[in-house]
């Protein structure tokens, strides 16, 4: 029986899987950056040709640093056909970032980048320090005195006025022999400078507008010393604008208000949308404040909030209050950037030794169920005589509801985390079961409008009333959930915070259906065991944190002598609901080492962070070191993980990953920036592939697997043994050709999974993207050309998807920069071939499942479509305060699901 269930499930999975892939009209295009910069805002762009605002529910970037246990999330905003996410890389010890992009469409389908197993194979990018920070710190030599004659710190000079001159004063008899070296923007220019023992001058000829850094060093045989390092700016005075008399008002708030109107023709129907967006911030003494809001006429009560607004107040570094739509982070296991409509307050008192945080609000708002009525179906026997009747309450397409999901969370931490901090945190997430009308059985249906059951006759009515559970709900009834997570955290820093130890341990509980409240004596009796009243009272008291009843995922009660007169329950502690993560990081200027141990039970759940990987335990170690004056970054990593941490499965899957990355980031932009990565992963569960009932050539495709135990042949779990090799590379080069400055970037990614024990487990994926941005010297024109190729074959031929994308863009400034014209043209060609995986009985009419094996269906379903997007826009800045932006967008989808969509939008911006 189990075998047939397994087969049906597998076939269903593939049936479900195939149309999802073929119907999807969109593909995500993304140029992976060669590196991300620490302490800067890095914005990532994702293009989805053909998608329009009406298709989008929401989009997120999920990211973590250095193989974190889960992913943080940040919402991506859609504008002009591009999703953008601004990411502040503010984790000082981070050496790499992993991320994937998820787009949720209103149709209910989802798009990912990377397309193939995004959570398992996210994009990985090195994090580097900004150029100003990569300079190795040098000792100073107190024997050398100096006077900077020109330019002084933070001087602003026109390009023709730059003269570098430094007078030196020292006693040669007390100074170790050596020489002075002059650097501009980390480039050694000593040989071009006019140098004498006590004076250095240099007149650079080719300094571009912008900030520049001068560094003077004294090099001896044994050591290099820093004399001084300072910055100055080169600016073109002709581009400076006169000051007005309002510039000095520090208390004046700054902000932007944007009003937009959009007319769109999508799928042949015209609809208009209006938006308003505002962002205002300012400060008054120690008080900093900001307000933001977004209102759209496309707000729908069928979706989570599209209108979003919030305010943030901060008083010094002691108090913070965010209200409205907020994005709190308490810990990796609880909530980490998930949107909440409510408040997030933080206090840091007594010199940061007492830290408090409190979060309250809604994670989800309620969305009502849209029921259509009861469908009555008679089941007949072979002769057509009715033998039974089924009653199913229908639901409109996308009409399934959602409960209001409330969150209450808090954290208290004692001590400064730079030295020693111990914290306690807890989070309660619970659906409000009364927030929507939700039919679970016929009795609950009677609380709704009679029109839903008006088609029932008296017999049906009585039948359902006497047996309410006969009523089914299409797709199942939604159940309100409850979740509680509590834990401790420990943070320590040594050696000026260069060595850090952070640890978090949590326990969680999940109730999959809190209808009915806590378990009572009577309820337990109905379930076939006894609990005492005092235990029931205890559960009632605990219900302020989580409702504990028979639907809790892991009941902390063990029933002894079940189904007997002496059955009784005793409490126990289920370890499967635990989670812990410890990280040791050692960060010295040229070396970042990190060791992480995690243990997450299979039943750990946080309803506020679904990205925490469950049922996993093991170590992750990585070391990144920098060589050649921080030009070369080398990363080495090793990870050993296994599942089945509570030993409740028949086999344990072990996974070992070796990782290496080599990146070269020269300071000079005439040299290419390169990054190459290598990842090798081996995954196996120790089960040997064996099925004596199928021909040897089909053994790897067998549905069942066996083992010989003495004289018995036993069914075993499905064997797992595969190897994944992932190679990636990225090269960026700047060059000048025909007096045009070009930035060319090429990214390659190749992933190959070879399954040694399943004939249809191989995966081949390769992606190439090329981008060239050209900036013209004579005119303020910038062009962009990009190409992407993507080929993914999964399931050893079950799906084969080929995507080719091309986009070009142009941006041209005129009228002294007041007017910007821009355009973009993108086209993609998407071809997919799919073959279903079916079970092939070895003999026609053979009902023995033991000799079944999978084969690829001979029928190939081919689907292809092309998208063509042309976008044109203009921005006119009337003056400093007022701007108008116009955008027009036309999308054509040809082939499967062909359509023509167009959008025209006008926005007005008021900056102040």
């Amino acid at each position: 029986m189990l075998n047939w269930v397994l087969k049906i499930a597998l076939v269903c999975i593939f049936i479900i899987f195939i149309p999802t892939r073929t119907v999807a009209q969109f593909t995500v295009q993304h140029q992976t950056p060669t590196a991300l910069t620490l302490n800067e805002t890095n914005t990532l762009e994702f293009m989805v040709p053909g998608v329009n605002q009406n298709d989008i529910q929401d989009a997120f970037l999920f990211y973590n640093y250095d193989d974190g246990i889960g992913f943080k999330q940040k919402e991506a905003f859609f504008q002009n056909g591009v999703f953008t996410v601004s990411l502040d890389i503010d984790e000082p010890t981070a050496s790499s970032l992993e991320y994937y992009f998820q787009l949720n469409l209103r149709s209910g389908s989802q798009l990912f980048f990377p397309e193939n197993a995004a959570t398992e194979n996210p994009v990985r990018v090195d994090i580097i320090s900004s150029e100003g920070q990569v300079t190795k710190s040098l000792k100073r030599n107190s024997e050398i005195d100096y006077t900077i004659l020109s330019p002084e710190q933070d001087d602003a000079l026109s390009p023709n006025d730059v003269v570098i001159a430094i007078a030196l004063f020292y006693d040669v008899s007390v100074l170790d022999p050596g020489e002075f070296r002059l650097f501009i923007d980390n480039r050694d220019v000593t040989e071009f400078a006019d140098t004498s023992d006590y004076f250095i001058s240099y007149v650079p000829k080719d300094l571009k507008n912008g900030s520049h850094t001068i560094q003077l060093e004294y090099h001896t045989e044994s050591e290099n010393f820093l004399v001084e390092r300072w910055d100055f700016d080169v600016v073109d005075p002709s581009q400076a604008r006169p000051t007005d008399f309002n510039g000095g008002n520090k208390n004046r708030p700054i902000g932007r208000i944007e009003l937009g109107a959009r007319s769109q023709q999508i799928g042949g129907s015209i609809n208009d949308a209006f938006t308003a967006r505002s962002n205002i911030s300012g400060s008054y003494g120690l008080l900093r404040y900001s307000f933001n809001g977004f209102i759209t006429s496309q707000e729908s009560n069928r979706l989570q909030p599209q209108n979003r607004y919030g305010t943030a107040l901060q008083f010094g570094k002691w108090l913070k209050l965010d209200a409205g739509h907020v994005y709190p982070s308490i810990s990796k296991f609880t909530i980490s950037g998930r949107r909440v409509f409510g408040v997030n307050t933080q206090a840091s008192l007594l010199k940061e030794s007492l830290n408090l945080q409190f979060v309250y609000g809604e994670i989800n708002r309620d969305i009502s169920n849209l029921y259509t009525g009861i469908n009555r179906t008679e089941i007949t026997d072979g002769s057509g005589i009715p033998v039974d009747t089924t009653y199913t309450l229908g639901i409109e397409d996308l009409g399934k509801g959602t409960f209001t999901r409330k969150i209450t969370a808090g954290r208290i931490a004692l001590g400064n985390e730079r030295h020693f901090q111990f914290g306690l945190h807890a989070m309660k997430v619970e659906d409000d079961s009364s927030s929507i009308f939700n039919v679970r059985d016929f009795i609950s249906l009677l609380e709704g409008p009679p029109s839903l059951y008006s088609n029932l006759d008296q017999n049906d009515y009585q039948k359902l009333q006497s047996n309410p559970d006969l009523l089914q709900v299409e797709g199942g009834s939604v159940s309100p959930k409850g979740n509680f997570v509590a834990g401790t955290s420990l943070k320590m820093g040594f050696a000026q915070n260069k060595i850090r130890l952070e640890s978090e341990g949590v326990v969680s509980a999940l109730n999959n259906d809190i209808y009915g409240g806590s378990l009572t004596v009577e309820g337990a009796d109905d379930l076939g065991f006894d609990i005492e009243q005092k235990d029931a009272d205890l559960l009632e008291k605990l219900s302020r944190f989580i409702i504990i009843n028979e639907n809790i995922s892991v009941l902390p009660i063990r029933v002894k002598n079940f189904d007997s007169d002496s059955s009784e329950a005793e409490p126990f502690f289920p370890t499967s609901i635990l989670g812990t993560n410890s990280e040791l990081s050692i960060n010295y200027p040229s070396n970042n080492f990190k060791l992480q141990y995690r243990w997450v039970g299979p039943n750990f759940t946080s309803l506020a962070n679904s990205t925490v990987r469950k049922d996993i335990a093991g170590f992750t170690a990585s070391d990144r070191f920098r060589l050649f004056k921080n030009r070369l970054y080398v990363t080495l990593g090793y990870e050993a993980l296994e599942d089945n941490v509570t030993n409740n499965k028949s086999a344990t899957t072990e996974s070992k990953t070796y990782r290496s990355n080599l990146s070269w980031y020269p300071v000079s932009r005439t040299l290419p920036r390169m990054s190459f990565g290598f990842r090798y992963r081996n995954r196996e569960n120790g089960v040997t592939r064996f099925n004596p009932n199928v021909a040897p050539e089909f053994e790897k495709a067998a549905v069942q697997n066996f083992m010989i135990d003495g004289l018995d042949t036993l069914i075993t779990p499905i064997p797992k043994e595969n190897v994944t090799l992932n190679l990636s590379g990225s090269v960026t080069q700047q060059f000048e050709l025909f007096e045009i400055l070009h930035d060319a970037s090429l990214s390659l990614n190749n992933l190959k999974t070879t399954d040694d024990v399943f004939a249809y487990g191989d995966v081949r994926s390769s992606a190439v993207s090329f981008n060239i941005t050209s900036r013209f010297n004579e005119v303020r024109l910038r062009t962009q050309l990009g190409l992407t190729f993507n080929n993914t074959e999964t399931g050893s031929g079950q799906t084969d998807i080929n995507i080719f994308g091309l986009y070009t863009g142009v941006s041209y400034f005129l009228l002294d920069g007041k007017l910007n014209l821009n355009g973009r043209l993108a086209t993609t060609s998407n071809t997919s071939r799919t073959r279903a995986l079916i079970v092939e009985p070895t003999v026609d009419g053979d009902n023995d499942p033991n000799n079944d094996y999978f084969v690829l269906d001979s029928q190939v379903n081919e689907s292809s479509f092309n998208t063509f997007v042309i976008q044109a826009g203009a921005q006119y800045n009337v003056n400093t305060y007022h701007s108008f932006i116009f955008d027009a967008n036309f999308t054509n989808v040809s082939g499967t699901g062909n359509s023509n969509d167009s959008i025209v939008a006008l926005r007005y911006l008021f900056n102040f």
Partner: protein, 246 residues
């Protein structure tokens, strides 16, 4: 008269000392200039007859031209020069001026003695108030000695003070007076008398006129911009921008 051996030896030692002294001066001169011409407008000429140096400064190639002891700087009818000395003192030289820079500096410390012989024209100085340094401006009539001030002077013995204190000496008589903020002094043609008085704001402004010819004061401000970098990703960066002051 015949020279004795002792006298010859003494002469020899003195010659060596003199030679070494000259050599030392030359070496120091090679080590470090007294000043640089940080900014100028054509035409500006530099001459040093001892060093056999004479050149007209070229805007392309001669920015930061170094001035050594004895160097002459001359501006023509259109020429301006902004000279920065080793102690960061600044001299702004008007058209039709001629000055000779003289001085010496020490290798191991910032102590320096600087004198500008102003033969023609007009200069304005912003002298850094630095410890024991001596800074003087001499003309055929006057000697102005300063220690941290802003003042101007011309070759006709006129000295005026915008800020700080200047001691002005009439070279013939040795008479010395001290000038303070918004005061002037005029040494007569015989260099034996000094007339002094106070200046109104208008007069001070008139005297200042022309010296800002080489100023490019810019006020630094910040703005946040988003741009697309070489990788095709958009970055948000804080950009400094500059406004010309009123």
């Amino acid at each position: 008269m015949k020279l004795g051996k002792a006298q010859i030896a003494l002469f020899g030692v003195l010659s060596i000392i003199l030679f070494l002294g000259t050599l030392k001066t030359e070496l120091i001169k090679q080590d470090r200039p007294l000043a640089i011409v940080k900014r100028f407008k054509p035409n500006v000429d530099i001459e040093n007859s001892l060093a056999d140096r004479s050149k007209r400064l070229d805007l392309e190639s001669d920015r930061g031209e170094q001035l050594f002891d004895g160097d002459t700087l001359r501006t023509d009818a259109e020429g301006y020069a902004l000279v920065v000395f080793m102690d960061k003192s600044i001299a702004k030289v008007k058209p039709q001026s001629l000055l000779i820079v003289r001085g010496e500096t020490e290798r191991t410390s910032k102590r320096s003695n600087t004198r500008i012989d102003l033969s023609l024209g007009e200069i304005f100085l912003n002298v850094e108030p630095q410890g024991n340094n001596d800074f003087e401006v001499s003309t055929s009539r006057s000697l102005a000695s300063v220690k941290g001030t802003e003042f101007g002077g011309n070759s006709d013995g006129y000295v005026w003070v915008k800020e700080g204190q200047v001691d002005v000496t009439a070279l013939q008589s040795g008479e010395t007076i001290s000038l303070f903020e918004k005061m002037y002094a005029q040494v007569n043609g015989n260099a034996d008398e000094i007339e002094s008085g106070t200046l109104s704001d208008n007069e001070l402004t008139n005297l200042d006129d022309g010296f800002d010819e080489l100023n490019e004061e810019l006020i630094k401000k910040q703005i946040k911009l988003r741009f697309k970098d070489a990788n095709g990703q958009i970055r948000e960066v804080t950009i400094d921008y500059y406004e010309k002051g009123n």
